[in-house]
């Protein structure tokens, strides 16, 4: 039991990491990884929603009628996303402004609905919790690393939390601003995906 619990948790950290392995949730991945801070913020918000919606959906899995299950999942997910949004507005206002419209878009993030449908509705709450936590943390790590690549190359800084960079290399080289723009997001994501496929290839 403990072993399969650990397995459900760790699969989200490598084998089934979104967006690289599951290739889900690409929209926020491309949009909010202009800096490490934004990536971490978005990742944590999504993890909160994933964990609680997985937990609740798993608890209610025998109560929700099959024919209206998607509608019920959406209500549950949207509620948690709205809670996250209000809490962010109240406690991390600058980050809330930076993430903007992508916070409410967590509702339609395929990762959340995907895990609800594929896992939470078919497993017990403890497993669902582990799954949600693992995938959420994996997502946060992906966003943070993609954000790091884009921010270092595109702006010469790394900003972890609080708005000011922990170091600033932009005086040493002319930043490759392509990286912080939309095309750079696609390029960086594609290259990282290729790299991960290469590493994972047996």
């Amino acid at each position: 039991m403990a072993q399969s619990l650990a397995k459900e948790f760790t699969k989200g950290l490598w084998a089934e990491i979104p967006p690289f392995r599951l290739v889900l949730g690409l929209c926020p991945t491309l949009a909010v990884t202009k800096s490490v801070e934004n990536g971490i913020g978005m990742g944590l918000a999504t993890t909160f929603v994933l964990v609680f919606s997985n937990l609740l959906i798993s608890l209610l899995r025998n109560v929700i009628p099959t024919k209206v299950r998607i509608a019920c999942y959406i209500v549950i997910i949207a509620t948690f996303v709205t809670i996250v949004e209000l809490v962010m507005q109240a406690y991390t206002y600058p980050l809330f402004l930076k993430l903007g419209i992508f916070i409410p878009l967590i509702v339609v993030n395929c990762i959340v609905l995907g895990r609800a449908e594929a896992f939470a509705s078919k497993n017990n709450p403890v497993m669902a919790l582990a799954d949600g936590l693992g995938i959420g943390i994996g997502f946060t790590l992906s966003l943070a690393s993609l954000g790091a690549v884009r921010e270092i190359l595109g702006a010469g800084t790394i900003t972890i939390w609080g708005g000011s960079p922990i170091f600033d290399l932009s005086h040493w080289f002319h930043p490759f601003t392509f990286m912080v723009e939309a095309p750079g997001a696609f390029a960086a994501l594609g290259l990282m995906l290729a790299g991960m496929n290469l590493i994972g290839k047996k």
């Binding site: 009628p65 209206v68 019920c72 509620t79 209000l86 507005q89 109240a90 206002y93 402004l97």
Partner: protein
């Protein structure tokens, strides 16, 4: 039939519980959100406009009901004794959406103290210059209240930021709305200040 009832019941209960939970969270965070909006969005503009007032505009703020909306008014006692008020208006038609403008008006002299951009989604480096660089908004400093605050291109007196006409126009719309709003609300404001 039983299936249909169960679907309706589950969805209704779920929706009601969610609604209740969200209402609770909203009212729980309302105060704190207002503080945050004030601190990050409005306070910098107020501090810039009312840098040498003798009172605390943020502490003495009050709300006015215009019938359609509620406006937050920040009173400022200028160093020469005259009373000024600042409030935020929204300029429609910015490049990336509405632009927020905090406008300060000297009530005794009937002229603008100045204006500062609060919120915007304009192009970084172009329209965003309206907030980062004070050259454009300083055109509103000390303008009498009956000046035409439209862009020169629209028969007014304000020069647009070069390369950011859409942004500039939206800001002038906010300024003009502030003029109109002030004229409508002046009696109410006077009552509150006393």
């Amino acid at each position: 039939m039983r299936e249909m009832i169960s679907m309706i019941v589950v969805l209704t209960v779920l929706a009601s519980v969610s609604g209740g939970l969200l209402a609770a969270v909203k009212s729980g965070t309302e105060l704190r959100i207002e503080e945050q909006v004030l601190k990050f969005q409005k306070a910098p503009a107020i501090e810039s406009l009312f840098s040498d007032v003798t009172n605390d505009p943020l502490k003495e703020r009050f709300n006015l009901d215009t019938g359609e909306t509620t406006i937050q008014i920040f009173p400022g006692k200028m160093p020469d004794g005259s009373m000024a008020v600042a409030f935020e208006t929204l300029g429609k038609g910015g490049y990336g959406g509405d632009i927020g403008l905090m406008v300060a008006i000297d009530m005794d002299k009937d002229q603008l103290v100045g204006a500062r951009v609060t919120t915007h989604a304009e192009t970084p480096g172009l329209g965003s210059r309206a907030k980062d660089d004070l050259t454009f908004v300083s055109q509103f400093n000390d303008k009498s209240l009956d000046t035409n605050l439209a862009l020169k291109a629209d028969d007014g007196t304000i020069s647009a930021i070069s390369g950011a006409t859409v942004t500039s126009r939206a800001i002038t719309r906010a300024a003009i709305e502030a003029q109109t709003l002030y004229n409508d609300l002046k009696p109410e404001i006077m009552k509150q200040i006393q």
